[in-house]
Symmetry: C2
Subunit: 164 residues, 2 copies
């Protein structure tokens, strides 16, 4: 589980560096699909990651308003602020938590029950999905997107002396 | 690991159903970004998934030519043909395989070594990334994309009698 989160955090940092090369107005420009702009996409993945992990822990997930985060630096600062909470939960993750039920009592009275392992994977896939959207917008801007490769990032140290 | 593969297979089936609603020429139309068309994206994720799992097993990964798979039905048939190989490897996956080294001897003489666990996650993220690209093209076509949600698909059965 941790490997995928570390992957997402690395790729996110690379998108920040990519964004820094762009005129700021391009970050806020309305585009078709996703959540509508490059900067809002980054804000959204940070927000969703933190919020889901907070609710799993029974902690408040106070919604922030993107209107207050209209620059790349503000979004990065938002990320830095929430990352400590996120990282400490991810690093403490254990396989025994996989099937723990999360009870989601909806406003309409409906009750959904999701396994914690599903929610963690939801958060992971959510970010990868949105980064895929950024990659299309990047090409529409005539720019090369950040690579989505998992391999080549040194995420898992392979065994030595086996099958070599 | 298996959970994410099952997620991808379910989402892929939903994209097939989505594609079936589209005029065939839209499936092949060149678009900006990704691998260039909706149908080629689906062909590509099937091909990449199967090929990586084949090379891990030291089996041939004979490249197929998309030119021979220009209809949705041909791509679905291609998927069905390869899926048995893919599924049997995924279902046999064990945590002990995570750090096993895969030696990639490049044509230029360079040698990369990747852990099997990295390659499996690469295959998973690869498909999620490309489905994110489809979601932008869907909106550009004025259509609602397939949901990328992991939750709500019944992928993991939660424990009962705990924290209820």
């Amino acid at each position: 589980m941790e490997t995928f989160f570390r992957y997402n955090w690395m790729v996110r940092e690379q998108w920040y560096a990519w964004c820094a090369e762009l005129p700021p107005e391009e970050l806020l420009r309305q585009r078709t699909g996703g959540v509508g702009s490059i900067l809002r996409t980054l804000f959204h993945v940070i927000d969703v990651e933190w919020s889901w992990l907070q609710v799993l822990q029974g902690k408040p997930d106070g919604a922030e308003d993107f209107a207050n985060y209209q620059t790349l630096e503000a979004v990065r600062e938002f990320d830095r602020k929430l990352h400590l909470d996120v990282e400490s939960f991810v690093l403490a993750w254990e396989p025994s938590m996989e099937k723990r039920p999360y009870i989601d009592r909806r406003a309409d009275g409906r009750v959904d029950i999701d396994a914690w392992g599903e929610i963690m994977r939801h958060v992971i896939a959510h970010e990868i999905h949105h980064m895929g959207q950024l990659s299309i917008w990047a090409r529409e801007l005539g720019r090369e997107p950040v690579s989505a490769n998992v391999i080549g990032k040194g995420l898992i140290r392979h065994d030595v002396n086996e099958r070599l």
